[in-house]
Amino acid sequence: MKSAVVLLPGLNRDRDMIAALTKIGGRAPLTVWQTDTEIPDVDLIVIPGGFSYGDYLRCGAIAARMPVMKAVAEKAAKGVLVMGVCNGFQILLEAGLLPGALMRNTSLKFVCREVKLEVANANTAFTRAYQPGQILRCPVAHHDGNYFADAETLARLEGEGQVAFRYAEGTNPNGSINNIAGIVSEKGNVLGMMPHPENLIEAAHGGTDGRGLFESALGIAA
């Protein structure tokens, strides 16, 4: 499967993401720049983490209004898989491709540590390599990961199985509502998550719990 990575000024996890996609998918992803108005034919588009536009105004707010995001939205509407990690998740929310918002961590501190993630829905295009309820190790590194949605939206997310990942075993690092760490869109082809699966894909990382996500999205897993 072909993949593409969206590049914006201020992102800094793009190289890790490109490495993960290359090592697991067996071919390097294409890259698209913020001013590109068209994205080549790919099966998966990834928006990596970082601090696009220095987090000015709101995290992801400026990036979400760049021309490339219109192209991402068009691809998402056609059913192409789109995945945003950390700042990528914030950008997808600001672009309206996922519901809700990410606010400042309740601790007001930047958190950089490992958490435990529960696979809340193993029946998505991004999680099918995992078992339902499986507990994964995964690093987080963010200042604004406190997921919030109004009661109506939250009920819909929970009712429709749109919560893909939750922080497990008391490891919620940011105060997010219902321990939400990652959600998928109504159609299931857009995923946003705060933790960094790209940083736990090989022995040198100390674990490979993040591989399943890439194997799922790249169609390597059954």
Binding site: L57, R58, A61, R65, L93, E94, P99, G100, A101, M103, R104, N105, T106, S107, L108, N146, F148, A149, D150, G175
Partner: protein
């Protein structure tokens, strides 16, 4: 030239960790009896033209599209 001021505040019911921290700091400074501190943003804009109604409509569109995240924030516009 028209001057506009946009005030963006968090909606009721949305937790404001920064507001809470500020409230705590005010207490630490000895300002007793302060509650409900909420942090917001103010934007000042200068717009060409003289049509205030048109300017207000345009600034509101800016709020909807960029200046506020209407999932969690309210905005108000004053034109002078």
């Amino acid at each position: 030239m028209i001057k506009a001021r946009v005030t963006v505040t968090l909606k009721n019911g949305v937790l404001d960790p920064q507001g809470k921290a500020i409230e705590g700091a005010l207490g630490a400074l000895g300002f007793d009896g302060v509650s409900g501190v909420r942090q917001g943003k103010v934007f000042d804009l200068e717009l060409e033209g003289t049509d205030k109604a048109k300017a207000e409509a345009e600034v509101k569109a800016m709020c909807e599209q960029l200046l506020a995240n209407t999932v969690i924030e309210n905005y108000s516009v004053t034109i002078s």
